[in-house]
Symmetry: C2
């Protein structure tokens, strides 16, 4: 919301004053009618006049003016992710938005591509959101959280492997995913386990804890395997597979798993006899390949749940900095392990 340049209004935007003039009443009355003010009684004829005038002019209130006057907004800011999001996460986001709107919040997704934590926090703070839900798209520092709080944010919710001081943390511990995957593989007799680490930027926030989670499993020897989401990269990795001496792989998620499994099969390796493959996120497409892909299924919190948490944080003055464990992960065996 910067200004600088000078696009002049072609036709002036109708204001409440215009409505008042047309209806032959005062601006106060217009406000009362249009906001269904309970505290004050307006005669039915007047109400109708005002509504008709507003209709006729196509009047729409100015959100900025309103929130300036009110001293606060009902904006919940949701940073947009920069990477394609799967159906799972997408459904969660939809539910969250829907629930928040039901609670009378305005959900604004703010694209923060290419912004640092500092820049992003400032840009967000300018909008004076009442809450910010940062699901890992940007890494927020304690200082950033402070900036947002100082700008009136009553809840700053972060989701990630580690809580940020001052923020309401939802410890969605991705390491649990890695732990489940590695445990599953170890239980099935595998020891030397590769863990795919996406080379794409911006995925460290998920890939690092998943790797660490796998590392934490006793009895497993973990080998990180950088790989990009391209057929070439997968083929290259598959080509040097025999030299790696691994008997299983946790491939970050189902998409990378499918890519790698395809390349391994094309290389003449047998799955799961020569190498067991497990993904994560339980995508539908994982069931379409043969052998069917084993996976780690993640239970996201319901959007409703998170929305209510936000709402509570907004209205309660007392800080609820409790940590909520909202993830549960479970390995599902299909045919690739």
């Amino acid at each position: 919301m910067s200004q600088s340049s000078k696009p002049p209004q072609s036709a002036p935007v109708p204001t409440s004053a215009d409505v008042a003039r047309l209806a032959g009443v005062s601006r106060a009355t217009v406000s009362y009618v249009l906001n269904n003010a309970e505290a004050v009684r307006i005669s039915e004829p007047t109400r109708r006049k005002v509504r008709r005038a507003a209709e006729e002019l196509g009047y729409v209130p100015h959100a900025a003016a309103r929130s300036l006057r009110a001293g606060h907004t009902r904006i919940v800011l949701l940073p947009t992710s920069h990477v394609p999001i799967g159906p799972l996460y997408s459904a969660f986001l939809n539910e969250l938005q829907w629930s928040l709107r039901r609670l009378d919040y305005t959900v604004v997704q703010y694209g923060s591509l290419g912004l640092s934590g500092d820049e992003a926090a400032r840009a967000w703070a300018e909008l004076r959101p009442v809450a910010v839900i940062s699901l890992g798209e940007i890494t927020l520092s304690a200082h950033n959280v402070a900036t947002l709080k100082r700008a009136g944010a009553r809840a700053v919710i972060t989701m990630g492997p580690v809580g940020v001081p001052g923020a309401h943390a939802l410890v969605l511990d991705q390491s649990e995913v890695g732990t489940r995957a590695a445990t599953h593989l170890v239980e099935r007799g595998h020891r030397r386990i590769g863990v795919v680490v996406p080379e794409e930027e911006g995925m460290e926030l998920f890939s690092t804890p998943r790797l660490e989670g796998a590392r934490s499993v006793a009895g497993a020897v973990i080998e990180p395997l950088p790989m990009a989401y391209t057929e070439e990269s997968a083929a290259a990795l598959a080509a040097r597979w025999p030299s790696l001496g691994l008997d299983a792989v946790f491939a970050y998620n189902d998409e990378y798993a499918m890519l790698l499994m395809r390349a391994l099969l094309d290389e003449g390796l047998r799955v799961p006899e020569d190498v067991a493959v497990i993904g994560a996120d339980d995508l539908l497409i994982g069931r379409l390949l043969r052998p069917r892909l084993s996976t780690v299924q993640i239970e996201l919190p319901t959007g409703d749940h998170l929305a209510e948490l936000v709402d509570r944080a907004v209205r309660e003055p007392g800080e609820i900095t409790r940590r909520h464990d909202l993830i549960s992960a479970v390995a599902i065996r299909r045919e690739s392990t």
Copy 2:
């Protein structure tokens, strides 16, 4: 941005007046310094004082106040889609956002799930965006476009099979995709062609023109096939396949194509001998199945291109209601046809 409730500020948010007080100057001077006003010369010591004070208080300007004063915003409103978006579209959106930010616009994605066209247009108009880019998430009427324009939107860009009066139309003609797919199949000797129509809500905007495009191809007999994005639905469709008497299918996109092809193979049918399968969107996963999936590749406009179009529409008073054909589609043969 509604208000109603009453969350009282715990600590008051610092304003430019606070900065002025701390720096021992007037608010005007603060504004000049912080906005690097060219028209006015401020001494270096004063500048430093002001900057230090702003820093110390953690001052962040209030976007609402600023745009109220300015009489316009630099907000570009981008309705959020309600369905999971593929990597293709996701990359396009990222590029668009990035390009718009480079042009100094604030990109706000607005979730409009469950809102009618009228409700959505009103809600958007309250934010007084300078431009709206509706890529088909919500069907806008001419009246809705008028509402937005009256609220100061200088560009309303719609993308869909048909232009909306008053809006800048980007005729991204999805029917071309259907045409290419059916043509490809006909050229390879198929006549009786099924066209998968997703049962999921909100996809009509794409699925209908794709179906119609296929229908327009001479020499093809088209059979619409409703199907949901589940294994069960695909299996049910595959089970009654022999009774349909079809020798090819255009499966809406690669994801539905993969699902259906898997089910057809499991049913004992041979692809492409018994039935040819073609998808659309050229997703990477389409190459992982065997046989490899033929597809229709779509060229989306670059985000940069669209961003510049928006920028031009915003600064030019004259309406550019030219229609821009921004799609090109081409069939790619792999192994499934």
